[in-house]
Each structure stands twice: as C-alpha cells, then as structure tokens.
C-alpha cells in the first residue's frame, strides 16, 4: 500500500513498575525478558510498531494479558505509553497537550468498550448525545445527530429507554452509536462483542460489517477471538507478551504463520473461507476452457467445481489471463493440510 497511513505507531513501549521511564533508559530502550524479570518491571507493550491505513479494519488479537488492551489505551492515550511515537495526521499524539487531546477526542476519535461504558443515569438519546454535549453542541443539533445515529444502529423508538432496560446487544448498539456521534476519523473498538452471547455476537459482527461498508472508517479492533478476527479483519496483528508477533492479512497468516504460537491459532481457522484459489494455484499452464476460476475466489467457493472435475482447472486473474491451474489433489491438500489429518 502506498497510501499515507492514518495512524503510525513507532516503537511503542508501556512499562509498569516504580520507575518505567528510568527502567527503559537504563536498558537502552531494549530491555529483554530477563531484564524485566530481574528489574521488577512489567512490559505490557514492548516495542510495537505498525501502521493503520485509511478505511481498513486492523484487528489486534491476543489472549488475556498479551497487552492488547494496554496497546489500544496507549494509542488513545487513556493510559500514556512510556515511550514511542504515535503519528496521527502528521503529529505525534504523545506530544499533544491535554487540551489538544480533548479536542482530538471530541472530533476525531470514537471508542467502543467491552462492557459498554454507558452512563446508567442517562437515556439512550442522552448517552448518544453525550460526546456532542461535552463539546458544547446546542441541544437541537445534538439531539438530531443522536437520533440519526440511533436510527443507524437500529434502535429507533428506544430513545427514552435507560441502559438497564436494554439487552446486552442493544446496549452495545448504544455504545456504537455514541462512538460514531462525533463523526470520528478513527474508530477504536475494544473487545466490543466479547461480553455478548454467541448468537448475538454473530449478529453484531454482521451489523459491524454493514456499518463499515456504509461508513468506511479507519478501525482498530481488539479481540481475543481468532474467528472474529478472521471474519472481520482486513489485517490481523497477533500479540504475545506485549510484542506484536505477526501482522498480516488473514490469508497470509493462515498460509504462512510466523511461528508456532500463530500456527496454534490458525490451526482451526476456516481455511475454505480464508485462503484464495490464487494462493494455492500450481504454476503450470492449463488450457483455458469453459470453466475457469478467479484467483481471488475463496477455495471454499471453488472446491465443488475442482473436486467434481477429472482434469486441472485454469485459474485466471481479474483480466482473464491464466496464472496457473488447480487440481483435486491441490484442493484437498489446501482444505486438509497434513497436520490436521
């Protein structure tokens, strides 16, 4: 991608302990795990660098304690990182004064929380209008905007309900509407669906994809659920012990995991819905005939055709040129790699 990133994190560190900055300085900004163990400090985020591009959904995945929540709080400066840079619109967020930070949050950032973070004493309407209220918008203006957001997330008619009168899924819809009310450029979601039942979670994921199709926000999405990451993410970053282990598209991650830790996650990934035909096509010339398969098709879509055919089938790119072929054996290998059988 040659596009300008929306957010760039450079060498981000978040260290907990009695003297985090001094600890980092003493170890030349590169403490090892042994240093941490010996120095009574904890490295929650360790030298993390990545870019988020406009309009993409970047998923940060990790188990509890991996540092993903600390990372998102460092980027949003809910908890200031110990060192590093966060370039947002050409400026280092870490150098922003608290007044500038408030301005940025009031206009350019939105965040959704795992346990919703709704204000229990306010109605749905008033919750959604809250960010507009604190930035000083007039009542009519903020109510109109809030109603628009409530309609967007499908909660029309519940404007005067209080949070406790809503189901979990509905409450998170309110959280989503509130986070979108200011029209943010960057949208942070911190395990937004983890507190919901599996069925509702699925429904909310679809809702999320629908909204993103409509809004095209730049998104940083935290989850501990690899299936969710694969389903929603354009790119996925996997965190372990505060470090970013691998950052790649779901397909690259499944087809070539960086290490055993990542492989463990991808083992049960729905390969038929992640891998594309292009990535498993054999580089052999095959005659174009009546039936060809697009390289960008997921292998699950192509499998019935390939498995039904005696002969290899040509794989073509978007322009219709042949880039290789795929046969039964290759398809079966891709669907059922050895380690799973």
């Amino acid at each position: 991608m040659t596009e300008q990133p929306k957010i760039s994190c450079r060498h981000l560190w978040k260290v907990f302990g009695s003297d985090p900055a001094g600890f980092l300085a003493r170890h030349a900004h590169a403490p090892t795990s042994e240093n941490f163990a010996a120095g009574r400090h904890i490295g929650a985020v360790r030298d993390v660098s990545f870019d988020v591009y406009p309009g993409e959904i970047l998923i940060v995945m990790g188990l509890s304690g991996s540092g993903k929540s600390t990372l998102i709080r460092a980027i949003t400066r809910l908890n200031d990182p110990t060192s590093g840079e966060i370039i947002f619109e050409g400026k280092d967020l870490l150098k922003a004064s608290s007044a500038e930070l408030i301005e940025i949050r009031r206009h350019k950032m939105g965040m959704v929380f795992q346990h919703f973070g709704l204000l229990p004493h306010r109605t749905v309407l008033s919750n959604v209008a809250f960010p507009l209220e604190v930035r000083g918008a007039a009542r009519e203006e903020r109510d109109a905007r809030a109603r628009e957001m409530i309609r967007l997330v499908g909660l029309e008619g519940r404007e005067n309900y209080f949070p406790r009168e809503l189901s979990g899924g509905q409450q998170q819809r309110v959280g989503i509407a509130r986070s979108l009310a200011v029209g943010p450029d960057v949208w942070f979601l911190d395990e937004p669906f983890s507190a919901l039942d599996p069925l509702i979670r699925r429904e909310m994921q679809d809702e999320f994809l629908r909204l993103q199709k409509l809004l095209r926000k730049t998104i940083v999405f935290i989850t501990h659920d690899f299936d969710e990451a694969i389903r929603l993410g354009d790119r996925i970053g996997i965190m372990k012990d505060g470090k970013l282990v691998q950052l790649a598209t779901p397909e690259v991650m499944v087809s070539s995991p960086a290490d055993d830790y990542v492989r463990e996650f991808t083992r049960n990934a729905p390969r038929d819905r992640v891998l594309t035909v292009g990535s498993i096509a054999l580089p052999v010339p095959a005659p174009l005939n009546g039936v060809n398969i697009l390289a960008s098709a997921k292998i699950g879509e192509a499998a019935p055709i390939v498995l039904a055919s005696e002969k290899p089938i040509a794989v073509i790119d978007a322009e219709g040129r042949s880039i290789g072929a795929i046969d039964r054996a290759a398809m079966i290998r891709a669907l059922y790699p050895e380690e799973r059988t």
């Binding site: 973070g117 204000l119 229990p120 004493h121 604190v134 309900y161 209080f162």
Partner: protein, 652 residues
Amino acid sequence: MNGGGQALAAPQFAPAPRLPLATVVVAIILLGAAAAWIWPPLQRWPAEWAIPFRDWVTQAFVWFSAAAKPVTRALSWLLSWPLWLSEALLFRGFPALNLPPLPWVAIVGGTAILGHWAGGRRLAIFCGLSAFYLAIFGLWQDAMQTLSIVLVTVPLAAALGLALGLWATRNARVERVLNSVFDVMQATPHMAYLGPVVILFGFGQVPAMLATFGFALPPMARCTILGLRTVPQDVIEAGRMAGCTPRQLLWKVEIPAAEKTLMLGLNQVVMQTLAMVVIASLVGASGLGQKLLFSLQQLQIGKAVEQGVAITLIAIVLDRLTQAYMRKVPEHSAPKTGFIVRHPHISLFLLLLAASGAAAGFFHAFAVLPKELTLSYGGPINSAVRWVSKELFPYIKPLRDWLTVWLMLPLRNFYLWLPWPVMLGVLAAIGYHFSGWRLALLPVCLFGFMMLAGFWEPLMLTIYLVTGATILCVLIGIPIGIWAAHSPRAARVTRGVCDTLQTFPSFIYLIPVIMLFQTSDVSNVIAMLAYATVPAIRFTYLGLLRVPAATTEAAVASGATKWQRLRKVELPIAFPEILLGINQTIMMALAMVAITALIGSRDLGQEIYKALPGADTGRGLLAGLGIAFIGITADRLIGAWAMQRKRLLGMA
C-alpha cells in the same frame, strides 16, 4: 509500602516461635498481682501523680473560644438564617409579612406524596400516617422544630462531606489523614462533641447543628470515596474518550454514576443528624429531643413514649424515604407530554398546597391543628407502667438481681481490682500475638494516657459495663443469627426487626429499660443490649450464609449431623465474620455508654454528662476520647484476630 509488603509476605515463612498466648497472660496476671501487692502504686496509679491534662484542655478551649469569637459569632449568624427560614416555613410563619407557616394538612399530604414518588403506595401510606401522628398527638411544633434543624444541616453536611471525599480521591495523603481522623471521630460518642461546641458556640439550635457535622461528615466522605472508586472503568474511559474535561468527567460522569453509593452516604447523614439533634437537646436544642429529655427526667413515661414514638417515626420515615430514593430506578416516559403528566407528584402537591392554603384562610384548623382536637395516649401508658412496675417488677427483679450478683458484681470487682500493669500488659500481649509490636504499643499508649490523665476508674467502669453488655449480646445474638441462617422465615422476621431497631435514635432505648428495670447497672447494660445486639445477629447470619454451599454439602456427604455440621464446619468458617459482628456490637455498646449516663452511672459517659453544664471542656472531651480509645483498641485487636483467622482459612 515496604511494611505492607512484609506484612503480606510474613505468613509465607514459619513464624518465630512464640509462647502460647494463655501462658503469657497468666504470667502477666501473676507477676502484676504480686508486684502490686508489694508496691501499691502498681495497683492503682496515685491520684496525686495524675497529670492535669483536663485543666490544660479546658484552659486551652477557654482561650481559643475567646480568640475565635469573631469567627464563631459570624458562623452562628450565618447558620441562623437558613434555620430561621426553615422554621418559619414549617411552623413559625412570617409574622413580619403576616404570612402563616405551611398548613399542617399540606405537610402531612406532602410527606405522603413524597413517599409515593420515592417508593410507591405503601411508603406513601406509612409516611402520611407518621406525619399525621405528629399532628394528632399534639407534637407538631416540636417535631417541626427538630425537622427544621435536620433540613438545614443535612444539605450542608452532605455538601461538605462530598467535598472532603472528592479531595481525598484526588490526593492519597489527604485520604490517609482523613481516614484516621474519621476513625477517631466516629468512635467518639455523640455527646462528647457537645462540650467543645458549647464552649465555642454557646447553647441552642446552631451549636446542635455544628455538633452534628462531626458525626455526619465521615460517612458521607467515606461513601464519596467508595462511590467514586467503584465507578466502572469502562464508564470513566468512555467519558474521557468522549472528550470530557476533568471537570465534566467529575460532574457528568463520575458523580452521577456513583449516585447509589452517594445516596447511601446521604442516608447516613440524615440518620446521624437526627440522632445528634435528639442528643443535642442536652445543650438546649429545642424540639422533640428536649421534650423527651424532660419527660425522662421527670419519669413521665407516658409522655416519653408518645415523644419517643414520634422521634422513631421521623427516623424511620427519613430512612425509608432516602432508601427508597436510592433504589428508585429511572423509568422512561413517553416523549412530548405536558408538565402534569411528567411530574404528577409535584403537580399534586402544588394543588394540595393551594387548596389547603385557601382552606386555612377560612378555617384556622387547616393551618394549625387546634389543641382541642389533639389526642394523647400518655394516660393509659402511665397506668400500664404502673401496672408493670407493680405486677411485673416482682418477676423481673429476681432476674435483675441474679444478673447483678452473678455477672455484674464479679465483673465490676474484677475490673476495679485489676492492677494497671496487668491490664496494659495483657492488652499488649494480645496485640503482639495477633499482629506485632505496633499493635502491642497502641493500647498501652491510649490506656496509659487515660491513666495519667486520672480517668482510670471511670475507664475501668466503662469497660466493665461494655464487657457485661457484650457478653449478653453474644449470648443472645449469635443463637438468633444461627437460627436465622437456618430458617428463611426466621431470617425475614429477624431482618425486619433488626432494620427497625437500627433506625431508633439511641435515646429511645432508655424508655422501656427504665420502665422494666428501674435504675441500676443492669438497666444500663440492658439498654446497651437492646441497641447493640443487632450487629452480633447480623454478622453471624451473614457469616453463616457465606459459607460456601460446596463445603456444607461436603460435610453432609461425609455424614455429619446437623449439629456437627454447625460446630465443626459452619461456625469455624463464619468465625472471622462473627468476630467483626462482636466488634460492631462493642462499638454500639460504647456509643450507648454516654446515653445511659442520663439514667445514672459512674463511667466515662457520666463524666461527659457531668462536664456539660459546667462547661468543663477538658473533662468531657477527655472522657469522650477515653470512650473512643476503648473503641479503637477493641476494633484493632479484634480486627487483627479476625484477619489472622481469615488468613488461616485462606479468605484474606
């Protein structure tokens, strides 16, 4: 930081070998007794060696009150205005403007409407009837006078407590200091606040209000700290991400989200204020409390009961109203409706006010209930009391005498004989055994100070009364708690009784005690008993309830009988909780010590009471501190014991 770490780490290692506590205690008693026999000053600290702290304190206060006169005058003047306004509204009227007070009909109706708004129909009926009681039994003016102090003090104390609490949440050092100050403030009996306040502000309503602050501030500040601490992290982060300034975050997010806990604080403020206003009648605060005090002193039990019931009703109404409001959940209303639909209660009250105001213009009885229309049941009560003392006392007397001979006298003689080195030594040994050197030093310093100040005998007599009361409380409370834990119906009844008993201002307990037992040490103990058994019951019940179901089931599966289960499984696990209940019981018994002085005693409470009229600040204040010291010592020692048990059970 370091100390905390070590304390936490300590149980990891094998403890240093210690002599068993019992051995140490016996050794101290024998040694102390022998030493005291050889050299009498070790038995009783000679009076001529006492250090005149009390005179110093008195002189300091006299000097200070003179120096602070402009400030105290200004403060009194400032506070007298809101008080004047609320008294004018409730019962005095505005003679200068020729305006009457709010008609009693409107206030009774308004109370019912308030009850309906906060808690529904049942509360409305209760509130309305309670207010009507005040009117129909001719206690209206006194009740309104008491109420006006409450109405003015509560908002002030709540606001001040909130501010202190907020300050503490912003600054860890402030929190530490406030916490220790609050500990002492809350352990000092209500009455001990009156002395200094009288010196500084004189007698009357305003000093009563100021004395109230001492008791009403700590719970409010503590609830503020707790409430703000427990706002969910998500909510605060959502507020920050919405772009709140720190001020917006506090007022629009944190305080509203902590509303429930803050309301609990407000409830405490209201109850403490009422309790204090009643006691403040000792320094000339007029109102129901004063009338009750007069009735008690003249042994007019019938009147006292009427007034006591009135105070109790006010207390319960205020308690239930604030609690109902705390539980009240916002309901959504249909948008775009009129004022009357959205605010039916306010509308109804305005209507009632207009109607009763108009009616009062024609019939004076609507404005002020005429004396001819009021009732009294004091007469029948008086004859009942006469009957009781004639018919029942012969039966109660043996119980009283039996308790006196077999419990109270031996205890009293024991404490009075106890050489002071033995007392201090045993307490230090207990403190050292359960915690360490610091806890060993604490009781020695506190009690040693009281001894040097010449308060040893009243101190011992206080401990004696409290010990007696605590023994009885435990004997009565724990079985009730066990019973409640094993029978849901018993639990329901017990909870209702406990809740009601705890709302009574402590004064009230004196009425039946005088009726039944007349004046004696046993009466004092019984009054403490009525007041202080509740926590023993409640903590036993809660402790047993918290025993994990799996543990009980395992005991049943092992073939334990009901009795074995209780003795070998449930009670040991609930023991730390029960200890904390006993701790609370001691605290409440101590709070009652000062009150029972009204019916005669020789303990620290009596010292406080005697110091009041003579403005002997040092005597009253030091005696009050003495009670606080007993409380703090008991609290720390029992707390350390409970902590040790909890750690052993892996529950800390």
